[in-house]
Amino acid sequence: MTRNSHLSDHRLIEVCFDAVPTAAENLHFNTCDRCSARRSRLQRLLREVSDAASVEVDQLFPPQRLATHRARILHRIDQNSRPGRVIAFPTAHASDGRPLRTRPATRWIAGAAAAGLAVGMLAGHLVRDLPGGRTQRRPAIRTAAKPTHPPAFRAGLLSDEEFLGQIENALDGPDLAVLRPLDDLTPR
């Protein structure tokens, strides 16, 4: 209660909901018209709100619908209590004589990819192993460029036949300048 002994709004709401009024408050309600009217007004408002909700729900959920609703709840509970049904593997398709159909597009794509890989690897090997291949040609150029030293330096190390063979090779080649020292040694 407040200082002028009337019930506060807060307490009045509590009393209208679930709080039990004290003996002093009951006495006050009996003697104070103002608080009694406040309580009546609040109770009326709450009843109206409650009735409005009840009317709405009653209209939306008639007994028939509630019964159906209950049946559905129990049905779901019964469904939940049953063990899970195991579905057999569909073997019937294989035994009915028709060929099993897989997706052709997938098969074609996989086949084409495998064939492409095999052809690519084969081509790679062929290109590398052929005599005219790029990888073979380079060392050949390197060995042809090597004999730039004058044959005079190597003449003492070679047999006569080898020496003459080198001379013949040099005569067949384009660069005759390398033969100049031999020509100088030759008596005229």
Binding site: D9, H10, I13, E14, C16, F17, D18, R41, L42, L45, L46, E48, V49, S50, A52, A53, S54, V55, E56, V57, Q59, L60, F61, L66, H69, R70, R72, I73, L74, R76, I77, D78, N80, S81
Partner: protein, 187 residues
Amino acid sequence: MVAAEIKALVLAGQRDAARDLFAELVVGQQRRAIRLAYQYLRDPHDADEAVQDAFVKVFTHITTYREDMPFEVWFTRILVNGCLDLRKARFRRLRWVLPIEASEATAAADVAGGGRSVEDTLVTQARLREIAAAVDQLPERQRSVFVLCHFGDQTTTQVSQILGLSEATVRVHLFRAVHRLRRLLER
């Protein structure tokens, strides 16, 4: 009390007996549950679904029920959480959809023709809409507390257990909700 019996039956492996007893419990709680769910969701189909889910969940998890808590509190907590989840899901689903007042129209059509005059029906309908709109205008917490206290027939102590709030907070929200409703409806 009935819930404790159902739990004992399930634990004893007497599932059929538990199911029959649960059917009685559904009869006792169904109307209150529907009323609560409808206040939260404002759609009869959603309310229907939420209440069904709550009852099925209760039976499925009955073995986890603690007897030191009133069954109504446990059940209401499950129901309210389900309603809030459903409302969130609906909000996400209908974010870009224009609302159609179908349920209101259906309700109006249903209420009309109850043996009263057209004027009475219209006045009642207008007042019903006004009250529903006023409750809908309450902020989330206030609305929740008011709905549980007033439509769910729960005490403030029980509501504090259901919502996980202190009892003082529940009382403050209830006080503010009633004040606001008064302002909106007593004009």
